[in-house]
């Protein structure tokens, strides 16, 4: 084999083995295989050889060319592999257990509980109604069977305003308007009235850890032909089992509320002990939870609905109390404090 071929081969192999950078490979490729490369030059110089030498020389140069291409290809592959290995090796192992950056907003706990309740009712075909906070004496009292001088007004420490209106002391203030709003569809088309009306209520009283002058209730009612006490019990049990997400036992006791007849105090089996008796239920096994009852005929009449033809039930849930029970909030005043130390924890249901 020609001396030049051998030395070129040697030189190239030496140069290739010495590089560690992919960019240099291209230089070598150009230096040997490019148009002006050394191997190309050998090819070009072939024509100066004698004809008998030309064939063998040509074959040798071609061999060299192929070998060079293979070498370069191998080296490229090697360097690529090496580069990836380097990249992997240089990647640090991160401590993913370090605390995550948090930037979460929060819902008011009442919103969370209210939404949960609303969703239960919506799933049973109830409409959700909103109502003002400032109402008239008629809406809050007269229309729900609490005429002037009625002793029930003693139980209500109502905030009155200068103009004779008042801050609603109970969500029942919305009953009349809702009966009037949906009454026509009931009477004309037989669409039952099924409504809940969450809202803020106000009581003129001193505040402490368990008393607030501003709190949330959610009232609900259903009116149709043939709505019965039996339906009421079924409904309360079903609804409360959904609210607490477990099978709840309910117990009704007579309770006096002017807008219902009969009226009930509804107790549920204690959520802590399940009814066996514990300190949180004062060892009775029961928790007094919400008032309910059959809508008083006077309330229906005042709402334009004939109590001889229609009956209905109504109930009131203390959303504030429910939120406190659910999250174990001990001081009711925290809810209206605006304190983000308290409220920012309620990121979602």
């Amino acid at each position: 084999m020609d001396e030049r071929i051998l030395s070129l081969k040697e030189k190239m192999e030496k140069e290739l083995s010495g590089i560690s950078d992919l960019a240099e490979i291209d230089k070598i490729r150009v230096a040997y295989l490019g148009k002006k490369g050394s191997i190309t030059a050998l090819m070009k110089g072939m024509k100066e050889l004698a004809a008998d030498q030309r064939k063998a020389f040509g074959a040798d140069v071609n061999k060299l060319k192929e070998a060079a291409m293979t070498k370069i290809e191998e080296k490229t592959e090697e360097l690529r592999r090496h580069q990836v290995e380097m990249e992997i090796a240089s990647m640090p192992s991160f401590d993913i257990t370090a605390p995550a950056a948090k930037n979460m907003g929060s819902y008011h706990p009442i919103t969370l509980v209210q939404r949960q309740c609303e969703n239960i009712f919506k799933s049973m075909g109830f409409t959700v109604e909103d109502y003002p906070e400032v109402v008239t004496d008629y809406e809050c009292f007269e229309a729900v069977n609490i005429p002037k001088h009625h002793p029930a007004r003693d139980m209500q420490d109502t905030y009155y305003l200068e103009n004779g209106q008042l801050l609603k002391s109970q969500t029942s203030a919305a009953q009349n308007a809702i009966l009037r709003k949906y009454g026509p569809a009931l009477k004309e088309n037989g669409v039952p009235i099924k409504a809940i009306f969450p809202g803020r209520c106000f009581r003129n009283e001193a505040t402490d850890a368990s008393h607030e002058n501003t709190f949330f209730q959610m009232e609900g009612m259903m009116v149709d032909k043939n709505i019965s006490i039996s339906n009421l019990i079924y409904f309360m049990k079903t609804m409360l089992s959904e609210v607490f997400r477990k099978d709840i036992k309910v117990r009704l006791r007579p309770g006096f509320f002017p807008f219902v007849e009969p009226g009930f105090e509804l107790d549920i089996s204690c959520l802590i002990c399940g009814g066996k008796g514990c300190p949180s239920c004062k060892h009775s096994g029961w928790l007094e939870l919400c008032p309910c009852g059959m809508i008083h005929p006077n309330v229906l009449t005042e709402g334009g609905i004939d109590p001889e033809e229609y009956t209905g039930f109504a109930f009131g849930l203390g959303l504030t109390r429910l939120a406190m029970m659910k999250y174990g909030i001990k001081d009711i005043r925290d809810l209206n404090s605006g304190s983000l130390k308290v409220l920012s924890q309620f990121t979602d249901d």
């Binding site: 409409t127 003693d154 669409v191 003129n204 002058n213 039996s230 007579p254």
Partner: protein, 790 residues
């Protein structure tokens, strides 16, 4: 109210029944019983009647005496006793060795050198009263050694009913009414009250008595003289004590006993002071001393009992000091009356003086009760003081009667209302048991309501349902779902928007939802230097710190920001709540539901904060209404708003609220380094503002062309002013416009706007794009905008 099971059993035989179980049933069927039930006398045994046979002074103690006591054992027992009232011949309660008094077991005990073999007891020690001034004196003739529990009603079950649960049941304010409920629950007969036959006195002269004001519905009276007894029988005193009352003297005790038994308050006047009873009000206010020796202001609305023209008692509330029974009283004029419930209630509130009597009167007592109560009183009086002599006829003025109530209903009504089947016989039996007169004719019922239920409680069919069902027992109800047709329910737009707003603010912008009060707290507002804006006020707030309703949520939120400055360097709060903006032409409050957002930061510049809030509001609008907000720079309206950057917010021309920055003075009061911005949106207006439907834009298959223009804006020209330059360019090729950069120096306000051109049906040529761009730049130039060549 405390109730004695012994007393109840005077009127209904509950032998053989579990009384505690009945009390629980009472709680489920009638009125709420408090959890704790008291088993009186259960912890007392071995206490007997004993007689003191000798008394010697203790040689070393001034207080102690050495007694020999006959406890019926056949021999005398040595006892050391410290009570001051010991004397020979006195009978007392004696705890023998081994006796149990509460936690104490009596054993021989050495006192100052002498051993006492037992203990003489005070009434307080054995739980009969709170008298611990000396040992109990037993005046009844009882053999020594008799267990006192066998002669006195010490063993009893006492329970407490929540007074609130009796508000609508005037008939349950005495044991007899309660016994009626137990009788109905136990299905046992209720016994009649034993009373004196008052007709035998009809020939005697009447009491001089006249109702001059119909707020007194009924007044019954009788006079009795020659009363010699002063101390009540032990059993009467025990019952009073168990029911939470104190024994005073025989006559006062007897009136109280009657009140606890029948629910009828009574008053005994000293007949020497009262001989011409008149019931009336006085036109002029005056002062009057009640028997508790308190002088009270009486006004023209307060009904008074008078001796002719001299007031002697506040009707239904309390007797007067001058006319009360004294120790030397032997003749009394008894009052058993009925007054207007509302009148008594209001007087009670005015006088801030609630008594056992007024508590009952304000529930609307049954006026039919006054005469039987007198019959019962005389019966008991004569039983315990045989010398007592009635000296007048029963005198009874009945000014106002409740009309009788009778109710008709049928089986179908009961079935429909209850949803279960309660048969006709059960209905009749239940109502009869409760004292109703019930007639049944097939499926039809006619019920006469007893007088003690008509005063307020039972007036209509639905009330009868309650009577039937509560005795039937709600625990016995079969429960069934309602069968009602299905109809779709569509939430209101406001409600839907509210929920979306909350979700976006919490989830996308990491704000915190808070709640606050609808009024201003004067002290908090003062602390940050915001004057309380004039508005409608609360008329009767008990807290002097709250008075005026708020017109805006922002001052409230600024107060809340102040409470949170140490919580974090950066936070935002929001609330959907109410404000009131004065009254309308009908003098009714104008209430608005507002969304308030306030952002606080110690790290971001005020400008960044302001734009962040702008972006939040735009995003809400974009998301919910699929349209853009527009802003209108106006004068700030309140002292807490920064005068420079205050903008009204409009959606399609509807003003929905404002965005602003805090005034530096207020801001510094909240936090020296904090930057605070806020916005308030009327939620109803927001929901009502016309938005756009979501429109789908088919992505083009052809490439689009971006064209950037850097514009130097003249002073006082707003971005919203130059929008017309491309919006009016009359082209359908412009797909999007966005600001990609802003550059501000003191002299230059430069914004770089990227225009995106494209078409759905072809690749645009640069010429047609340039044509539009030229149109835009021409308009911009006309507005004085300098286009920087790039």
């Amino acid at each position: 109210m405390f109730l004695s099971m012994n007393w109840i059993c005077d009127f209904v035989d509950l032998d053989g029944l579990d009384k505690v179980d009945l009390i629980h049933r009472f709680s489920l069927s009638t009125a709420e019983v408090e959890n704790e039930i008291f088993f009186k006398g259960r912890d007392l045994s071995g206490v007997v009647v004993a007689e003191i046979k000798s008394v010697e002074e203790h040689p070393d103690s001034k207080k102690l005496h050495l007694l020999k006591v006959d406890a019926g054992d056949g021999e005398l027992t040595d006892v050391v006793c410290g009570a001051p009232n010991v004397r020979v011949g006195m009978k007392t309660a004696f705890a023998k060795i081994g006796a149990q008094i509460g936690d104490i077991t009596i054993s021989p005990r050495k006192l100052a050198g002498y051993t006492s073999y037992g203990m003489c007891c005070s009434e307080s020690e054995i739980g009969l009263s709170d008298d611990h001034s000396g040992i109990m004196e037993i005046t009844d003739d009882i053999p020594n050694g008799t267990d006192i529990k066998s002669v006195y009603d010490i063993d009893d079950i006492v329970f407490e009913v929540d007074n609130k649960s009796l508000t609508n049941r005037p008939d349950l304010w005495g044991h007899y009414g309660i016994a009626r409920e137990f009788a109905a629950l136990a299905e046992r007969p209720l016994k009649n009250l034993e009373t004196d036959d008052l007709t035998v006195y009809s020939e005697l002269p009447p009491v001089d008595l006249k109702i001059e004001d119909n707020l007194c519905k009924r007044y019954s009276s009788i006079k009795v003289e020659n009363i010699s007894r002063n101390v009540s029988p032990v059993n009467i005193r025990i019952r009073l004590y168990y029911c939470g009352m104190r024994a005073i003297n025989f006559l006062a005790d007897l009136t109280n006993y009657l009140m606890l038994e029948m629910g009828q308050p009574m008053h005994a006047f000293d007949a020497r002071r009262v001989d011409k009873i008149r019931i009336k009000r006085f036109p002029e206010p005056f002062r009057f001393t009640t028997l508790d020796e308190v002088e009270r202001n009486i006004d023209e609305n307060t009904l008074m009992i008078c001796n002719d023209n001299t007031p002697v008692a506040i009707a239904g509330i309390m007797g007067g000091f001058d006319s009360e029974i004294k120790d030397d009283t032997t003749t009394l004029a008894l009052e058993s009356a009925n007054f207007d419930a509302a009148c008594i209630r209001k007087s009670t509130v005015r006088l801030s003086h609630r008594t056992d009597a007024s508590m009952r009167y304000e529930k609307s007592l049954d006026p039919e009760m006054t005469v039987p109560a007198i019959g019962r009183f005389i019966y008991l009086l004569k039983k315990y003081d045989s010398g007592a002599k009635v000296v007048s006829s029963l005198t009874d003025e009945y000014a106002v009667k409740f009309p009788p109530v009778s109710i008709e209903f049928d089986q179908a009504y009961v079935d429909r209302y209850t949803g279960i089947k309660i048969d006709g016989d059960t209905i009749v039996k239940t109502l009869t048991g409760l004292g109703f007169k019930a007639e049944r004719n097939g499926d039809n019922f006619k019920v006469d309501v007893p007088s003690w239920r008509i005063t307020k409680d039972v007036t209509m069919k639905a009330d009868i349902i309650e009577e039937i069902t509560r005795i039937y027992g709600y625990d016995n109800f079969e429960i069934n779902t309602a069968l009602s047709p299905l109809y779709p329910v569509r939430p209101t737009e406001v409600k839907t928007d509210e929920e979306k707003i909350k979700d976006l603010l919490v989830k996308r912008f990491s704000l915190h939802e808070v709640h606050s009060y609808v009024w201003a707290y004067n002290d908090e507002m003062k602390a940050i230097g915001i004057p309380v804006e004039d508005n409608i006020k609360l008329a009767n707030a008990t807290n002097p710190n709250i008075e005026t309703l708020r017109r805006s949520m922002i001052p409230t939120q600024l107060c809340q920001v102040r409470t949170n400055v140490s919580y974090s360097n950066d936070f935002g709060i929001f609330e959907i709540g109410r404000v009131v903006n004065g009254v309308d032409e009908n003098n009714l409050c104008i209430e608005n539901k507002m969304l308030g957002i306030t952002l606080f930061s110690k790290t971001n510049s005020i400008k960044d904060q302001y734009f962040r809030l702008r972006d939040i509001l735009s995003s809400l609008t974009d998301d919910i209404k699929h349209c853009e907000l527009t802003f209108l720079k106006t004068q700030a309206e309140h002292s807490y708003e920064h005068p420079v950057n205050y903008n009204r917010i409009l959606i399609n021309g509807t003003d929905v609220g404002f965005i602003g920055m805090v005034h530096p003075t207020v801001g510094k009061n909240i936090d020296k380094k904090g930057n605070i911005v806020f916005a308030e949106i009327d939620v109803d207006k927001f929901a009502g503002a016309k938005g756009k439907e979501l429109v789908y834009d088919e992505p083009s298959k052809y490439p689009s062309i971006e064209y950037d223009l850097s514009m130097d804006m003249p002073k006082d020209v707003l971005f919203s002013d130059i929008r017309a330059c491309w919006e009016n360019a009359d082209t359908d090729l412009l797909r999007n416009v966005s600001v990609i950069d802003t550059y501000d120096t003191e002299l230059i306000h430069r914004i770089t706007v990227r225009f995106l051109f494209g078409s759905n049906d072809r690749t645009l040529s640069s010429a047609e794009v340039q044509y539009v761009v030229d149109k835009i730049t021409d308009s911009l130039a006309a507005m004085g905008v300098f286009i920087k060549k790039s």
